[in-house]
Amino acid sequence: MKGSHTYRNIRPALAKHKSLKRCLRALVFLVIIALLAPVLANDKPLVCRYQNTWLFPALSWKRTVVAGDTSLNYNMGKDWKYLDADIILFPPCAWSPTTLDADNAPRKSPFDKQWFSLGHGNTAPLPLAYRHWLGTTQNGQDVLSILIHGTAIAIGIGFASMLIAALIGVSLGAFAGYFSNNGLRLGPLQILALLAGIFFTYFYCCVIRGYKLAEAFNDGGIWLILRLLFLCYVALKTIGGMVWIAGYMERKLRIPYRFRFPLDTLVSKSIELLNSVPSLLLIIALSAFARPSYSLLIIIMGLLSWTIIARITRAEYLKAKNLEYVIAAKALGMKNRRILFRHILPNVMPLILTQLVFGMGSAVLAEASLSFLGIGIPLESASWGSLLNEGRDHFSSWWLVVFPGACLCLLMLLYNKTATELSGFRNS
């Protein structure tokens, strides 16, 4: 295993930091809840034996299935509870966030009597297995189910947007700090190649195929982020390749001129510029432009929040490049890339992680604020913020405010605590 030695000391160090370990465990627990959300809260049963066929509806992506001599619609929502099955086992919370339970429709409290209609106008008390433990919303959605599925949204958005932010921030910050303004020198051909590369990638991606880009943004979807990342990777590789070829030609042609590339100034100034953009306002405005989707939200938040990571990474690399181990690595003739990402990065990792965790917190907050305002998020989404939004119109329904609010508070506390502990982890 190459390079793993740099992280070998983490386990014993973590053992010393009990509270950090606890925070990380709690985070892992939340991630597990988010991942298991379809099994924990679903209106489809986990296991069902119907007409001598074993079915696992909660784990299936199918729409319909043929069992015995009838065809079952998997998305029948509440009707699963009326199914005449031999064996049926529901998840702990027997409702999906989208299922509307008309019997308990306008906002049933957790302590209210809940009902279950049997047809022909007869109703019975709701069986405990189907109970809405944390009450229902205006339309009869289950609050607990929304909370469980909202965990995936809250955590997923934080992780994904910070992934983008980290990719941009760490690489830009590292290059800016390590090379600063006079480390990178380009020959005239290379500058030409750089400009031409930028122009032609822009021309190809935004002019010739611009309509595809616009379509993708309007579509949203999970693949948008990966497609964009791949596009950026190919574009950067193309530009890099052109510059490399130009450098090769310069060496062959023996062109002696070299110009300093003001990388540090460029990065610092763009950080300053982006920092002055009011991010929540911009997110709201931008999501009013395109069809709102979580992918779009993640991309915008990633693009707006890399600056803080870049600033810290830059400062650390600026310090690190004059330290002995870096000079030693240079003297050994190691490549810049190896020094940058194998030698310096592990040393500044805790600091970057601290910022990333803080950033995840603010991403969660931004998403919740948007869904609280009801702008810029997909309409059908069921997140913690949208519950709060409903609760603010109905003060008597305290469960719509207290439970999602407590979840948000806890998650923010966890993130803030983890970040604080992480910064302490670095100092020791």
Partner: protein, 483 residues
């Protein structure tokens, strides 16, 4: 010092241009046609007036001009594409252009459709005059032809075009007398277009220069009728049909009031707390306070706000404060003085102020605490202690001054938030400030207002960074001399 400030000011100019560019980019890429919002089709009785109104606003907004000084296009794209105002038609045009790469013939094709529509309109009026008694019977068929022509105009997909042409032919054939042969001409021009494809032109870049007569220049510097962003004219609000600044200026006052008052309150409360916490961080009470502050810091402001409303403005629990607004319903009494007005408004201000204050309060006290604690182990503090100063005097007279630097940064972030306002708090408590105006503008797609707010708040942030930097340089000679 002077050199430092001058240098910062010089850097201010390109960033200013970039910020306005960002704002303009947002404005241009906003979806929908601004003309549709300014001139609603339903409100106009007269088609002639509708058209003239549209033309007037189009001229006012400079929609007939190119977007920017330069543009990068493909070789196939004609220079005058931006002149097609109809969004759907433009999309079809672009689509067809991508398939064929021959702008001349694409234009000819669209011209052909347009001429057909004109001919059709003539025919329609002729029918109406000549056979008024038959007209109602054939009106629906004639309208079917009109609909076909329109959908042909906005479809860029080739299979769709063929289907539409076939339908057009059928509709024409169903006409009671000699069919006007629109379809033949259109089909012919389409065939010509398909035969003369020059798709390679789609892959050759073309850079064109438009000079000063473009929308960005007009927007930024203005011309005869508008003054331009640079002189504070952000255009006309689509919904109010008033200058944007006039719309905004009423709202700023409330956001200003809450931001300034809350930050002053937060400083007044949190600096003493921070000092106390820094002095003895490990006493049980102080630990409790720290935990409380941490909890406050982690409480999202919208949860805090709704919780406050639920507890203190709820008839079921406690109804101490009114739930929304900033003044009594029906306004103040006419003869009320300023003092009475304040007294009337006071209950409305308590909850929003708490909400505004609490998150910055916990942040600032933590900041004060940590920055004082960073100073405490330093030599000059030891010297002060050795001189025999009391703990309080050491902190007040020596440590506090040096730990104020990070607090300058926090203070400088207040001013930008005046323009942005607090979107969330203002919409929870229905305060008529900038935040609520922003939400209104976004929901009703009033883009000039949105862009003005974003651009202004960018500018204010840049300005406050500038002020903070100058303050830093003034307070700390090390910063001045390093640059």
């Amino acid at each position: 010092m002077l050199e430092y400030i001058l240098k910062r000011l010089l850097w201010f100019i390109p960033t200013l241009l970039l910020v306005t560019l960002l704002g303009f980019l947002l404005l241009v890429s906003a979806p929908g046609d601004p003309l549709d919002q300014l001139v609603p089709a339903l409100s106009m009785k007269d088609a002639e007036e509708y058209r003239s109104q549209r033309a007037y606003w189009s001229k006012q907004l400079g929609l007939d001009l190119p977007v920017f000084y330069v543009s990068v296009k493909t070789w196939a794209e004609p220079d005058t594409l931006y002149k097609i105002q109809d969004q759907e038609k433009r999309k079809a045009y672009e689509n067809l252009l991508r398939q064929t790469g021959n702008a001349e013939l694409v234009s000819a094709y669209f011209d052909c459709i347009r001429q057909s529509r004109q001919a059709y309109e003539q025919r329609l009026s002729l029918e109406k005059e000549k056979f008024p008694e038959h007209y109602p019977r054939y009106k629906s068929r004639l309208n079917a032809i009109a609909a076909d022509l329109r959908s042909l105009e906005i479809s860029g997909d080739s299979s769709m075009q063929h289907a539409l042409l076939a339908k057009l032919k059928k509709d024409e054939a169903a006409f009671y007398m000699e069919p006007p042969s629109f379809s033949a001409a259109i089909e012919n021009s389409l065939r010509q277009l398909k035969a003369n494809r020059t798709r390679y032109k789609n892959y050759i870049p073309k850079i064109s220069w438009y000079g000063r007569h473009n929308r960005y220049h007009l927007w930024l510097f203005g011309d005869g009728s508008s003054k331009g962003v640079i002189r504070g004219d952000f255009g006309i609000s689509y919904t109010h049909k008033q200058p944007v600044l006039a719309v905004i200026s009423d709202k700023v006052i409330w956001s200003l009031f809450f931001s300034v008052l809350s930050i002053v309150l937060a400083y007044l409360v949190s600096i003493p707390i921070g000092i106390r916490l820094a002095q003895r961080p490990h006493t049980p009470v102080n630990r409790l306070v720290q935990a409380g502050l941490f909890l406050l810091y982690s409480t999202p402001v919208f949860f805090g706000g709704v919780l406050l409303l639920m507890l203190f403005a709820n008839p079921d629990v406690l109804s101490i404060f009114p739930p929304s607004g900033i003044k009594p319903i029906g306004g103040y009494n006419d003869d009320a003085g300023l003092l009475e007005k304040c007294a009337d408004s006071l209950p409305y201000l308590v909850l929003p102020l708490i909400c505004y204050t609490y998150s910055s309060l916990s942040y600032i006290s933590r900041l004060t605490q940590t920055s004082i604690m960073e100073q405490l182990p330093l030599d000059y503090i030891k010297t002060a202690r050795a001189k025999g100063l009391s703990d309080g005097a050491v902190i007040r007279k020596h440590a506090l001054k040096n730990s104020l630097l990070p607090l300058i940064t926090v203070f400088s972030t207040v001013f930008p938030s005046i323009i942005g306002g607090s979107v969330i708090i203002e919409s929870i408590f229905t305060i008529p400030g900038m935040g609520q105006e922003t939400v209104r503008a976004i929901v009703s797609k009033d883009y000039p207002v949105v862009i003005a707010i974003i651009t202004l708040s960018c500018l204010l942030t840049m300005l406050s960074y500038l002020v903070a930097d100058i303050l830093y340089a003034w307070a700390d000679p090390r910063i001045r001399h390093k640059s």
